[in-house]
């Protein structure tokens, strides 16, 4: 059964326990960070993914004065249902598992960074030192042992809840019907991290993906025709060659006569 994390941003208090838990479980080094240069997100720290930052919490101020509102949004790999990074990866280092995670086998990575350019959410990051990529793995090894991802386990407010994908989608659809905003339900064909919020995701600086077609779709379609295309091309060229030779022969014969 495919798993998902249902993220209710209305519950998040911005404690960053998920960030710390992720660092500890994945043994990631601390990195020197700065406050975000945009005043709207200035308390976001760290403010971007890096090879040592698989997840971070974006602090967003909306409104002003009495209507000032804080919204905290945890970001990580969204674990697309049809992930383009998996399609792009030439080595099968990235694999979509039946349990939901886009898991990552570092030992197979050759550092081509195609996934970095293929991901519609800008998640995989290239590690310049080790020449491989790094990204959140949904704690696939913990899921396989029946445990929750480290960040989910650390969340004190149940902002992050692990559940079956079908249930998460149903809850998000209900939320949408009740006037809330969702992210991950439709974007790029759906993801295994599904958000609900009372603030539009555009205001939270989530990337807009109005197309519900999976990012891997075009690639998958094209790949089906590779063999056929090469065969037809070869046959066509052979025909041209045969025609050209035949024409030369006929011309030579006619010239001789």
């Amino acid at each position: 059964m495919s798993k998902a994390v249902f993220v209710d941003l209305r519950r998040c208090i911005g404690c960053r326990a998920c960030q710390v838990a992720c660092k500890r479980w994945n043994d990631r080094d601390a990195v020197n960070t700065t406050m975000n240069s945009d005043p709207k997100y200035e308390w976001t720290n760290p403010s971007k993914f890096s090879p040592d930052t698989y997840t971070y919490v974006r602090f967003v101020k909306t409104g002003s004065g009495d209507s000032l509102k804080w919204t905290f949004a945890k970001l990580q790999c969204n674990h697309c249902i049809e992930p383009h990074c998996v399609t792009a990866c030439p080595t099968t280092a990235l694999v979509k598992t039946e349990e939901g995670p886009v898991s990552y086998r570092k030992e197979l990575c050759i550092g081509c960074a195609y996934c970095v350019n293929a991901c519609p959410f800008g998640v995989p990051k290239f590690d310049e030192v080790n020449k491989i990529i790094e990204k959140c793995t949904f704690c696939a090894e913990r899921l396989a042992e029946g445990l929750e991802p480290a960040c989910v386990q650390a969340c004190p407010t149940d902002t992050l809840v692990l559940m079956d994908l079908a249930e998460a989608r149903r809850k998000a659809e209900d939320a949408e019907a009740n006037g809330l905003y969702t992210y991950g339900l439709h974007e790029v064909g759906g993801t295994s991290w599904i958000y609900i919020s009372d603030v539009p995701f555009k205001e939270l600086a989530f990337q807009e993906h109005t197309d519900a077609t999976p990012a891997a779709y075009q690639s998958n379609v094209l790949m089906k025709f590779v063999g056929t295309g090469l065969f037809i091309g070869g046959a066509a060229l052979a025909a041209v060659k045969f025609y050209a030779e035949r024409r030369t022969e006929v011309a030579a014969k006619e010239g001789g006569e």
Partner: protein, 301 residues
Amino acid sequence: MTEITWGLILAAELFVSGMAGGAYAFSALADLLGKGKYKVLSKSGTYTSLIFIIVGLVLLIFDLGRFEVDPLGMLNAYLHFPTSIMTVGTWIITGFIVIALATTVLWLLEGIEWVRKVLEILGIILGVSTCAYTGILLSLARGRLVWGSPYLPWLFIISACLSGIVLTMFMVPVLSWFMPRLFSEFKAFYDNKRDVVNVFNHVDRYVTVLIGLEIAVLILYLGTTPASSIYYTASELSGLFIAYIILGRLVPLGIIYYREKFQHDKKYNMIATVTLISQALVLFGGLLLRYVVLIGGQLVV
């Protein structure tokens, strides 16, 4: 929030690989359909394609930077067939190297002609696929808005064929200067400047058409792709983009056009020299195009 993971070395790799594919396709077609008139060009294109596809491979290995850590790790790139375009490309380039090597050996040994011609048919398919692969690779990278255009692969195919044809001609004197004994046939051909100019004139008709096509597809690409103005508005790219258009494409077109004038005066040495300059500019333009597209695509999120 931009991250440049693919830089100049990868741009050079895309350029030389595509150019090698184009050079092979051109030289093989010249051999298959040229009735023996373009033997020197056929040989030049075949040798050149082998040299440059290997140069591309070396650049790729250097760019990945993992050879010292895991020298055999690159073999993993063959694993995801036919799902990953990069794996498909790896197989295509591998096949192309084998075919280019076999054709080169057959040319050098003056081996069995029909075998060479069969190899050439296969090589054209793999050569053009190599040209196409570099553009398709980028256009399928859905994280980069500016690359996601159906015109980009066509732009790269046309550009690679153009560069391949020009490189084939350019390498005739270059190979004969560096290795006159091994390429004595090239030297003899190039020493007869009148014939050289006639052959260049003939081939430059195709070059002119390809430059025109490339500019037309470029206009379509820029006109239909959101945020593609980054190529000529970004401070670090605008100068290079202008250099690509003017130095890499318009100046060579001008040289091809005005060369006719000198031909009437029979200044064949001068024409050959000016032609070499225009060929070098076309090649430089091809590299600039790859660089601008590669970097520009990564500047837009």
